[in-house]
Structure formats: structure tokens, C-alpha cells
Amino acid sequence: MPTVSLTVNGKAANATVEGRTLLVQVLRETLKLTGTHVGCDTSQCGACVVHVDGKPVKSCTVLALQADGCAVTSIEGLSQGADLHPMQQAFRDCHGLQCGFCTPGMIMTAVDIAKRHPEADEATIRRELEGNLCRCTGYANIVKAVQTGAAAMRQG
């Protein structure tokens, strides 16, 4: 069986996989990084979003072998120790999550939004969240969290 070599959250990781193994399966099942979630099977909900070589992708729609040699950042790699990443902090401060299941993908997307649109307005943020579904919050506080987190990232 083929092996895949990744750098996950800064650490080298190797896994034996099948051709059909998805990136999200390697993260959750092999590496036990269960913060990345699966909420649909048609690439729409965005609970599985991670960064591959700095770009957000849906890890349920990427084969593990496609990511061979890539650097992957999952929600667990966003912050270390007691300190939260500014976007994680903003989601908490703005009550941008309820059940927490969509949250990792939402935050990974939000970090990317903040990088590409540091001063995004509400309409831009709502449009950029097209690939992330939340059933709990009605998105209002997520939009506020992205704005707040982006501001903190600008300053930080």
C-alpha cells in the first residue's frame, strides 16, 4: 500500500493509505486529529476545512495522496498552549459557535478570509462563508467574529 508523507501542524507525519483514502481520514483516523469534522458527503458543509500549503481546502474532497509532500494545518495547529489564535478568541468572544461542530472548519475558513480580506465588510464575509454551513448560530455572530478576529490579526 502506498504511503503519504505530510507535514501536519509543523510536524512530519507518514501514513500508509489506500488510493481512496481521503485527507480527512488520515487526519482523523491515523493522526487522531479529530478536530477536523465531516458533516456532509457532497463537499458543501465545510466542517472539514484545513489549510494545505496555506490554502483552505475541503479535506473530505482531497485524496490523502494528492496532499503528499504538502504542509497541512488543522484546527489543532492554529494555536499552542494556553493562548488562543486571535480568530479562535474572536469566535469565543462573539459567541460565534454553539454546538461547536462546524467551528473548526469555520475558523480555518475565517483565518483565510482575514488573510485575503483584512478589512472585509459584512457582505464580503457572508459571501466568503459560502462553503461553510452552520445550523446553530444563524451566522450573525460568526460574521462578527470574523470581523473581530480579522482586526486582531491585523494588529497582531
Binding site: 479529530t34 458543501q44 458543509c45 461553510n132 445550523r135 451566522y139 460568526i142
Partner: protein, 792 residues
């Protein structure tokens, strides 16, 4: 209750403690749990809506690589069916038809997605590969999909030849007939309440682990009420002693009702784990969720409202067909009856109300409670017919509602449909909403929109809901097979920190925060010294779980009751330590004080002594400081409010955009305003989703045409506006629970769909459009305009 300025007490927007794990990806949802030696179950589901199973051949699958076992109904002959928790009687006195809901289909499948067989294998991929080797010979039967044609058959169940589950009614039919006979105006409306898929983003997931040495099974389940599951699975399906089944509902990624129920897959993993002595796991994918999670709503109703010459409502009649799907899910029968028709008085003094509900079996996924559960359906039909009556009688829709309100002086108010409202002030929320929505200035905004080529409309709706489910005596009298109490236990640890154990379950509501606030507030213990335990039958007292906006009202009240016991015990201990009589000790600000003196013992000191009782009078005083309470509510709670929606419609495309949404709610006392606002926001999104986007559509052959997010339109961020949310600044607290709370979880989903549809109809008023069914999709709105134009 003391209300010192406590930054983490009742009324404070405390940041959620649970977020610290969720934002780091350190939540522990069922599918995140990995057990040693686990196996994977894959369910073979029916591709037919209705068919006889002539033969199942599992031999090739059983022999396939990696397969541990294959299960069919024949293997489960000793298991009971999945039970229904509420017995409804038809108006002729006969009990509802309650055909067996087997764990795996027995000789017949009754909906697409019905579970037929199971493969348990070393990996999920192996299970799925082997599943393709199972040969099932189906003999398809015509599918029963349209409720109004269901009587023609064929029968889904032998027990119900006409596919009717029950024919139930409530109210005084004769009085209503008299009211209509003398009415100055009657408004009649036919409407549907569209079927919805709950779609919590975490799909259902279960893991069962059987320990042969002890005979104990542990079930991990994405569920809202683990004790209820233990009761249903243990007592009804498996006849297993309850102490041998532990049910753990860890972090759960949203429920909205769909994770209340005992599902077949839970029974499957429990049974399979017991057989093979290894853990068995099953996680739904989204496609499976669409054909196996209980769905919501699906009513067809004819409603008539009788008004006198002054616009007073004098009678209301509703005739509803309620789809229960192929089998009775756990609470399917109570939703269209007790949770629906008893709310038809709404916020109004309508003296005569009658409602008939016929529940129909169809070859569709079972229907059960979904956020609001019956109350959105009641609110929708009532507030739609009122709006139409306002148009027909040329009255302002706000004023027509106002003149019919139950006045504050009329509480407690007995409705003609069984409920007694304890308190409320409906004019207050109407005034708040009208002001916040700038209702008076609407004509200016409409004219401005018109100049841009857009049709602007405004819609008002009031709602009332019966929450805090439920007084056990009332539930029992109405057919409930369970109680409606909740449990709470408080353990003051030796060093003064507190462990709270609750039968409520949090799956997004933030109980770990709000329950800690209640305890911190009452016991005067720092918030960060309070830990809330929930979701594990081995660690919490028997409780009924979380649904029906009941957790704070019932579960929170149980905690208050338990803390009252803690304080009483603490007084005894303090009195002993301070050498005074119990009656001389008062508890305030976290300390037991001898009244009128500065002599006191803090609760921490009392706790320590409770566990180091070196000189306790053991004949009078037990060691320890831990108390448990069960709280059974005296009545439902009645949150109420007013929602105003403003839309703009693009007449060229039919696209409706929600441009403003105002909510004014009376939830009684509020524990954490930040969380309450979040609950309303989420409810509004689901209600707006129902009104604009979401719809489970079945083809005539029973195939679900909206079986993925590709076709089932979920609300996204850019479908929704920011909301203007306010809660009553002078609350009318609930009169009968110790916190004065009413519950807030469902309001948004109850009041918003009809406010939105009222706004759409208002926007289309220039075309003479009187009604549009949900969801008001672009195509539906465009077609309504074309149809109206072609008539003129």
C-alpha cells in the same frame, strides 16, 4: 434570590466555558471516540419506498474480506420494536394505531432508507464493499406519498388498513359552529407546513461496547437525552436490566429535536457489540441522514377564522392532516396534537376553537419533533389566517392583532384548548417590535424600493409557545408515557468547589456556562469553581434530557431545588459550628451568618467541615454536602413575542431577500443574555430557512428528491441578514418556577416563518396575491406573480 452585582451570575453575558475546547478542535463528539478493537457497521437501506422483501441472500457478503458479521431481521427476532412515547386516542376513543417499528425491516420496507441488513466489518470500507454483495429481492408495491390519497392504500401496516394512525380532536365543535353562524366575516385559508430535514451538522453516530466479564454495555450516542435512550433501549427493545446499559452522550453537534429519538442504528450497534464482544461503531453520512433522520413538520391544513363586526375573533376551526411517515417515531404522535392544537388560541381571546388532526402513515421517513415541534405549525396557520383576515377586512394587521390580545389583567388565562397561560404582556412585545422595526415609516421604504424596481413587504407575527415540557400529571393525562420532570444534583466538594450533575443535556445551548451561572449566583461560589456534568447515565441522576425549551425552566429549577437542600443542610452545619440554632442562621453572599451579627462560616468552610466531621452530632447531622432534587413543573411556561420581517422581492426573478428582521421576545428572566440572543438568532435562521429555502420533496414513487445539500437548500451566511433582537426590559417572569424563566430555544423557529410569509404576501399585494406556500422560492414567487398577472 440575591442579586448582588455578580459578573458571572444570573443576568451576565458570561463567555462560554465549552468554547475553550470547541475552538481548539478539542471537542469530543461520538465519532471522535476510538475504542480498541472496534468494528464498523454499514447499513443496507431500501431503495424502494414500499416493497415486500421476498428474499435476502447474505452469504457472499458474510464470506467477504474483513467481514465480522452480517445481520438481518431474522437475527433480531427477540428484540422489541422501537417504542413510541405518547399514546393518542382518536375522537371515537380508540387508541392510535401503533404498528411495530422493527429495528430491521421484517418482510417489508416502508420508506426509502428503511434499514434492511447490516454488515459489520474490520473497516468501514470493507463493510461497504461487502454490502454490495448482499442480494435483496424486492417486490415493489405502490407508494403512499400524498396524505390526502392515503386511504386508497395500499396499507403500509396491517393494523391500519386506511393508513390513518389516529383521528384526534380538541375543543368545542358546537360552540365553534355557533360562532361561525353569527360571524360578520369568515376568512378561510388552505396551507401546507413544508417538510423539513433537521440537518444538525454533526451526523448521528453511535458506538456500543460490550464487556463480557461484567455483562455491561456502554453506548456512546449523539443524542439529546441519554437516560431516555437507556430506558427505551433497555426496557423496550432489549429487555435488558438498566444497570447493565450505560449511555453516554458526549459533545453533540446540534440536535434540534432530531437526536431525541431512539433510532434503529442504536439498537443495531448494541446488539452487534453484544454478539461479537467487540465495539461496533456507526456514523451516518449526510445522504443517509436525509433518509433516516426523523424529519419535521409536514402538515396540510384548512383553517377558518370567524370575526365579529369589530374585528374580534369569535371562532377558529382547523382541520389538519399530519404526516407521521412510515413508522411512529418516539414522539411523533404528540407533535401534531398536544404540541400543536393546544396552541391555537395564540395570544388572543378567541373564545371558541376546534381542531381536528388526522395523522397519516405514508411511505416516507418518519416525522417527529423538529425545533418548535407543533408550535411553529400552530403559529403559522393562526398568524397567516389573521393576516389574511386583516387584508379582507381592511384592517391594519398590527391593530387587528392588538384588539384581540389577552390583556395583562386576564392572567392566569384559561384558553379553550386546554392550556392555562400564567402570565404575559403581548402588547409590550408588539410595541417594542413595531418601534424597533420602524413600522410607521414602512410606506416610505416601500416607495423607495419601488423606485429601485423592488417590491418591499412587511409582515408581523405574534407567537406563544408552551415550553418547559412538561408537568408529569398533565403529560400523563394527555397520553404521555413518561414524566416531564428533570433532575439536578449538587456536590459541594471538600475544598468548596461545586460539581453539578444534571439530567439536562447540552448540544449547543451552553449549559456548562448557564447552569454554572445559576449555581455561582445562588451559592456565592466563584463561577470557575463550578463544573457541570451532563450526558452520562453513570454520572448524572435520571433525567429527561433537553428538548422543548425545557432545560433552564425544568433542569435549572431542579438545581435550585437541590441548592435549597444544600443551603438547609449548610445551615445545620453552620449552626453546629457557630453553636447557635438553625433558625438563627441566614445564607447570603456565599456565607452562613448568624442573623444580626458578623459571625459567619463561608460555604467553603462549611463544606470542609462537612467532609471532616470530627465533632458532628451524628444522630442529628450527616457528614457530606451533596444533594439531589427532581423538579416537576407545575405548568408549562409560555414564552411569547412579536416578530416583524421586511423583505424585498425582485419581480424579474422572484428572489426574496430578507432585508430586516426584528424580534421582541418575552422569555421571563434571562440567565445569560449573550446565549439567549444566540439561541434566537439560530432559531430565526431555521425559521427563515423553512420559509425561503428548505423543503423535503418526495416524488410520487417515494424517492426523496432533495436528498443532499445539492438539492436541499440550507441557509447560508449570505441568505440571512443581521437581526434586531430585543427581550422585554420589564419581564413578566414565569410565575411558577423558582427562576422565573420561560425558555428561549425554539422561539425563533416558531415565530419567524409566518412573519416572513406575511411579508412576502404583503410585498405582492399589488398583484392581489393572497397566499404563498413555504418555501417562497424564487420560482414560487415568480410564478405567483405571473399567475396573479394573468388573472387581471
Amino acid at each position: 434570590m440575591n442579586h448582588v452585582a455578580n459578573p458571572t451570575g444570573i443576568g451576565a453575558s458570561v463567555k462560554r466555558v465549552e468554547d475553550l475546547r470547541f475552538v481548539r478542535g478539542k471537542g469530543r463528539y461520538t465519532d471522535d471516540i476510538r475504542l480498541h478493537g472496534e468494528t464498523h457497521a454499514y447499513i443496507i437501506r431500501s431503495p424502494h419506498a414500499h416493497a415486500k422483501i421476498a428474499k435476502i441472500d447474505t452469504s457472499r457478503a458474510a464470506a467477504a474480506a474483513g467481514v465480522v458479521m452480517v445481520i438481518t431481521a431474522a437475527d433480531l427476532a427477540k428484540l422489541g420494536g422501537l417504542p413510541c412515547g405518547w399514546l393518542i386516542h382518536s375522537k371515537d376513543g380508540s387508541p392510535m394505531k401503533e404498528p411495530k417499528h422493527p429495528v430491521l425491516a421484517e418482510g417489508k420496507v416502508r420508506h426509502v432508507g428503511d434499514s434492511v441488513a447490516v454488515v459489520v466489518a474490520e473497516t468501514l470500507a470493507a463493510a461497504r464493499d461487502a454490502a454490495e454483495l448482499i442480494e435483496v429481492d424486492y417486490e415493489p408495491l405502490p407508494a403512499v406519498i400524498d396524505m390526502s390519497k392515503a386511504a386508497a392504500g395500499p396499507a403500509l401496516h396491517e393494523a391500519s388498513p386506511n393508513n390513518q394512525c389516529f383521528d384526534w380532536h380538541i375543543g368545542d365543535e358546537a360552540a365553534v359552529k355557533d360562532a361561525f353562524a353569527k360571524a360578520a366575516h369568515v376568512t378561510k385559508l388552505e396551507l401546507i407546513n413544508n417538510r423539513l430535514a433537521p440537518n444538525a451538522i454533526e451526523p448521528r453516530a453511535y458506538i456500543a461496547d460490550f464487556i463480557q466479564a461484567t455483562g455491561e454495555t456502554t453506548l456512546y450516542t449523539s443524542n439529546q437525552n441519554p437516560h431516555v435512550i437507556r430506558l427505551l433501549a433497555g426496557a423496550f427493545v432489549f429487555q435488558m436490566p438498566e444497570h447493565k446499559l450505560r449511555v453516554i452522550a458526549p459533545d453533540v453537534g446540534g440536535g434540534f429535536g432530531s437526536k431525541i429519538y431512539h433510532y434503529a442504528e442504536e439498537a443495531i450497534v448494541i446488539w452487534a457489540a453484544g454478539q461479537i464482544g467487540r465495539p461496533v461503531r456507526w456514523t451516518s453520512d449526510r445522504s443517509e441522514a436525509f433518509i433516516s433522520d426523523a424529519q419535521g413538520r409536514d402538515h396540510k391544513t384548512v383553517v377558518e377564522l370567524a370575526l365579529d363586526k369589530d374585528g374580534k375573533f369569535i371562532g377558529l376551526r382547523a382541520d389538519t392532516l399530519a404526516n407521521v411517515g412510515a413508522y411512529l417515531s418516539t414522539f411523533a404522535s404528540v407533535v401534531p396534537t398536544i404540541l400543536h392544537a393546544t396552541l391555537l388560541a395564540g395570544n388572543y381571546t378567541t373564545p371558541a376553537i376546534y381542531c381536528n388532526v388526522k395523522a397519516i402513515f405514508t411511505n416516507t421517513v418518519p416525522v417527529d419533533a423538529y425545533r418548535g415541534a407543533g408550535r411553529p405549525e400552530a403559529t403559522y396557520l393562526l398568524e397567516r389566517v389573521i393576516d389574511l383576515a386583516a387584508i379582507e377586512t381592511k384592517r391594519d394587521p398590527a391593530e387587528l392583532r392588538r384588539i384581540n390580545f389577552i390583556a395583562p389583567s386576564q392572567f392566569p388565562y384559561q384558553t379553550p384548548v386546554a392550556l392555562q397561560y400564567d402570565t404575559g404582556n403581548y402588547g409590550r412585545t408588539l410595541d417594542m417590535a413595531l418601534a424597533a422595526a420602524k413600522y410607521k415609516d414602512f410606506p416610505t421604504r416601500r416607495a423607495e424600493a419601488k423606485a429601485r424596481g423592488k417590491l418591499r413587504g412587511i409582515g408581523i407575527a405574534n407567537y406563544i409557545e408552551a415550553c418547559g415540557i412538561a408537568p408529569s400529571a398533565v403529560a400523563g393525562a394527555l397520553g404521555g408515557r413518561a414524566g416531564g420532570y428533570e433532575s439536578g444534583a449538587i456536590r459541594v466538594n471538600p475544598t468548596g468547589s461545586v460539581t453539578v450533575m444534571t439530567g439536562s443535556h447540552s448540544h449547543g445551548q451552553g449549559h456548562e456556562t448557564t447552569f454554572a451561572q445559576i449555581v455561582s449566583d445562588k451559592l456565592g461560589i466563584p463561577f470557575d469553581q463550578v463544573d457541570v456534568v451532563h450526558g452520562d447515565t453513570a454520572r448524572t441522576p435520571f433525567g429527561m434530557g433537553t428538548y422543548g425549551s425545557r432545560s433552564i425552566a425544568v433542569g435549572g429549577s431542579a438545581l435550585i431545588k437541590a441548592m435549597d437542600k444544600i443551603i438547609a443542610k449548610g445551615k445545620q452545619i453552620a449552626a453546629h459550628l457557630l453553636e447557635v440554632s438553625d433558625q438563627d442562621v441566614v445564607f447570603e453572599n456565599g456565607a452562613f451568618t448568624v442573623a444580626g451579627t458578623d459571625r459567619k462560616k463561608t460555604i467553603g468552610e462549611v463544606a470542609f467541615q462537612a467532609y471532616v466531621p470530627h465533632n458532628f452530632p451524628h444522630d442529628k447531622l450527616e457528614p457530606g454536602l451533596e444533594e439531589q432534587a427532581f423538579y416537576d413543573p407545575k405548568n408549562f411556561t409560555f414564552p411569547a413575542g412579536t416578530y416583524i420581517c421586511e423583505v424585498e422581492i425582485d419581480p424579474d426573478t422572484g428572489v426574496t431577500k430578507v432585508v430586516d428582521f426584528t424580534a421582541a421576545d418575552d422569555f421571563g428572566r434571562i440567565i445569560n443574555p449573550m446565549i439567549v440572543e444566540g439561541q434566537v438568532q439560530g432559531g430565526l435562521a431555521q425559521g427563515i430557512g423553512q420559509a425561503l429555502l428548505e423543503h423535503c420533496i418526495y416524488g410520487a414513487d417515494g424517492q426523496l428528491l432533495t436528498g443532499s445539500f445539492m438539492d436541499y437548500a440550507m441557509p447560508r451566511a449570505d441568505d440571512l441578514p443581521m437581526f434586531k433582537i430585543s427581550t422585554t426590559d420589564t419581564p413578566t417572569p414565569c410565575t411558577h418556577n423558582p427562576l422565573g424563566v420561560k425558555g428561549c430555544g425554539e422561539a425563533g423557529a416558531i415565530g419567524s416563518p409566518v412573519a416572513l410569509i406575511n411579508a412576502v404576501v404583503n410585498a405582492l399585494s399589488e398583484f392581489g396575491v393572497k397566499h404563498i406556500d413555504m418555501p417562497a422560492t424564487p420560482q414560487a414567487v415568480w410564478r405567483a406573480i405571473q399567475t396573479a398577472k394573468s388573472k387581471t
